[in-house]
Amino acid sequence: MQLESLQIDVRPGSHWAAIDLGQSLLRRYWKPVYLAWWVPWLTLSVLLWACLPADMLPWGSLAMWWLRPMFDRLPLYILSREVFGEPVTAWQALRAWPHQLRGWARSLTWWRPIMAGRGLYVPVWQLEGARGKFATQRRRALGARGAYGTASWFGVACVHFTLVLEMALYGLVSFFLASPEEMNPAGFLVTYANNPQLLALTGHICYTLADGLIGPVYVSGCFTLYLRRRAELEGWDIELSLRRMAERLAARSTALRAKSATVGKTLAAALVCSLLWFAPQHDAQAAGCPTPDFVTDIRKARPPTHDASQTALRNDLDAVLSSDELRNWQCQTIWMPKKTQKEKPGDYAWLEKFFRWLFGDGSPGHHEGINLGAVKVTLIALLVILFAWLLWRYRGPLGQLLKVAERRPPPPEEICGFDIRPETLPDDVPAEVLALWRAGRTREALALLYRATVSRLAHDYAVELMAGYTEGDIVAACVEARRVGALPSLTESGCRQVTDLWRAAAYAARWPDDATLIGILDGWRSAFTAPALKVAA
C-alpha cells in the first residue's frame, strides 16, 4: 500500500462528505466498474428470465437482490486498486472475481444481506482479510463515531434510489403509451394491473436496470467512507505530510550543499532565508537534473567575457540561478507512451465502403447494360468542380468574411512618448528632417525621423506595436514581422539603422555627421515609402 499514490484526499471531514467522495471516485472510474458489474449482472438477469416460468420471475428479481453482496465485490476490487493509482480493467476484475468471492455463504446468510450499512464492513473481509474475533474488533473500530450509522442511512437512501429509478422507468413507459389527454405516470401499472406476467417481466427489467446503476454507487460511497475512517484511525494524512516534509528537507539540504561549494556562505544563507518562503515544492529527483535547453541557449547567447574574474562571476551567478529556490524551471519524472497511439482502423471504413459501393461488383451500375459507374463518377466530378467554381466565383465576399474575423485593434496613438498618428507627419519626411538638421535643430530632426519610422511601421506595414513598447521592443517586433514575411528586409534594416541613430543621439548625445544622415535619409526614402511594398493596413 503506497500512501503517496493515493488518489483521494483523506483528511478527516464529515462522514457524508466522505460518502459523496465515493461518487466522485466512481465518476472517474465508471467505465471498468460498470462494465465489470454489468457483464455478470446482465447475464444473470437474462438467464433467470429464460429459465424461470413467467409467473416465477419476481422470485428471480428477489434472487438478484439477494446476490447483491457478491456483485458488490467487483467495484470494490477495482476501486480499491484504482484509488492507489493501479489501473485495473474490467476483464482483470472479472478474472479475479471467483477468488474474491470467498466467504460467500457467510455474506448471504443470517441478517447480513439486509444490513443497510454492510458496505462499510465488506473491505474488512475482502481487502484486509481479517477473520474471526479480530475482524469483529476491526468492524467495531471502523463503525465507531457514527460511521456505521451514516453507512446505514446511505444504504437506506440507496434502496430508495433504486425504487425511484424503477418508478421513473415505469413512468417513462407510461408517458409513451398514454395519449396526450390522459398523461398519468402510473398509467402503465393501472392499465396492466390484471396482467401479472407482463408486470413481472417489466418489474424484472426495471429492477435490473435500476439496481445495476445504483449498486456501484452504494459500494463506492461506502468504500470512501471506509478509507476516510481508516485514514483517521491510522493517521494516513499525518504520515503523508510528514513524508512530504522530510522529502523537501532532503532536497533542500542537497541543494544547500551544492550551493555552499560555489557561493560565499553569507550570500547563500541570506538567499535561502529570504527566498525559502516563496520556493515552490520540488521533487527530490530534481536535484540531479540536466539544465534545460532554453537556459543553455540563453547562456550561450551572451557575449564572451572580458577576463577571468567575470567568468568566475558568471559561473557563480549560474550556480545560484539554477539552485532549487531561484530557477524558473522544474524537473519531473513522468511516464510517456513509447509509441503514439495508432490510428483507429474504423476511422475511414465508411470511405472504403463508399468506394466499394461505387466500383465493386455489387455496385448499382454493374447489372445494367451500360456502365453506370462511369456516369456516377462523372456526375460527382462535375459536382466537385461546380463547388470549386462557386468558391472561386465568390472568393471576394468570402474573403471579406474571413477578414472581419481577423480585424485587429487599431495601433496606439503614442509609443515611446511619440505621437505616431500618420496625419501629424509632414508629407515629405526626409526633406523636413534635413531642413531641421540644417537649421541646427538636430534633436528635433532625429526625433521626427524616428517618429515617422515608428508611424510607418505601425500604420503602413501593420507591425503589431503596443503602447508600452520601448525602442528595443519595436526592433524585436520588426525582426519577428520580417521572419513571418510581413515586413521586407530593407524596411527592417532601415528601422534598425534609424533606431541606432536615435538611441545614440538621444541617450548618449552622439550625433551623426551630415554625410551619414543624408545617406540614411536616402535609404529611408526607399525603405519606407516604396509604394509597391506597402501592405494594406
Binding site: Q7, I8, D9, R11, P12, G13, S14, W16, A17, I19, D20, L21, Q23, S24, L25, R27, R28, W153, F154, A157, C158, H160, F161, L163, V164, L165, M167, A168, L169, Y170, G171, L172, S174, F175, P185, A186, L213, V217, G221, E232, L233, E234, G235, D237, I238, E239, S241, L242, R243, R244, M245, A246, R248, L249, A250, R252, C273, L276, W277, Q281
Partner: protein, 231 residues
Amino acid sequence: MLDGKLHLSTPEGITLALTPAGAARRGYAWFVDLLLRGVLSGVAVGGLLYAFGGRAGYGLALIVFFLMQWAYPVVFEVFSNGMTPGKRWLGLQVLREDGLPVGWRESALRNLLRVVDFLPMLYGVGLASMLIDGQFRRVGDIVAGTLVVYRDRRVRRLPLPVDATPRPLPFPLTPEEQRALLDMVERVRAVPPQRQAELGNLAQPLTGLTGEASLQRLFQYAAGLTGEAKP
C-alpha cells in the same frame, strides 16, 4: 487528487472551499421538508375548514396548499440564508455557484424547475442528473446556477495535548506545512500507540529523534508555532 470540494478564488486571492452535498443527504432533507409541509398544511387546512367551513374554507385551504407547495422553499431559502428547515437540520445550504447567497431569482428558478426534476415520477430526472453531474446538481440547480453545499461547522480547536516548551522550527516551513504540523499534533494521540511510535520514526528527518521522543519534539515545534504552551 479528488477531494470532493469546489475551490473558488476571490479577487483578493483567498480560496474558498465549498463541499457540494450528494443525493442521499439532500434526499433526506427533502423528506424532512415534505413531512413538515404535510403537517403544516394539514393543521392549516383543518383549521380553515373548521373556522370558515363550506366553500370559503375550501378555497382558502387550496390557497394555503398552493403556498405550501410553491412558496415554502423559496421564502425559506431567501430569508433563511439558503436553508429550509430540513436543510438546516441536515446541515445543508443553497448557494449560488460563485458562493454568494441565493436571491429571489435563483431560488424561484430552482424551485419552479422541480417540476422537471420530478419527471417522470418521484424525481427520476433529478436523481439521474445528480448522479451524473460532478457537483450533484439537479436540473433546477444547473439552470438557476445554484449549488447545495454542506454548511461549515464551527471548528472547535482542541487544546494542544501536552505541556511542551516552545522550540523554534529546525527549518522554515511553508504555511501549509505549518498547518499540517498543528493538525498532526492535535490528532496524533487519537491513533493507536504502536502507530504513534511509527509516526514518530517517520518524523526523524525533521526532529533527529525516534519514537515518542520525536513526537515530543514535534509538540515543542507546534508550541513554538502557536505560542500556547503551558508554563
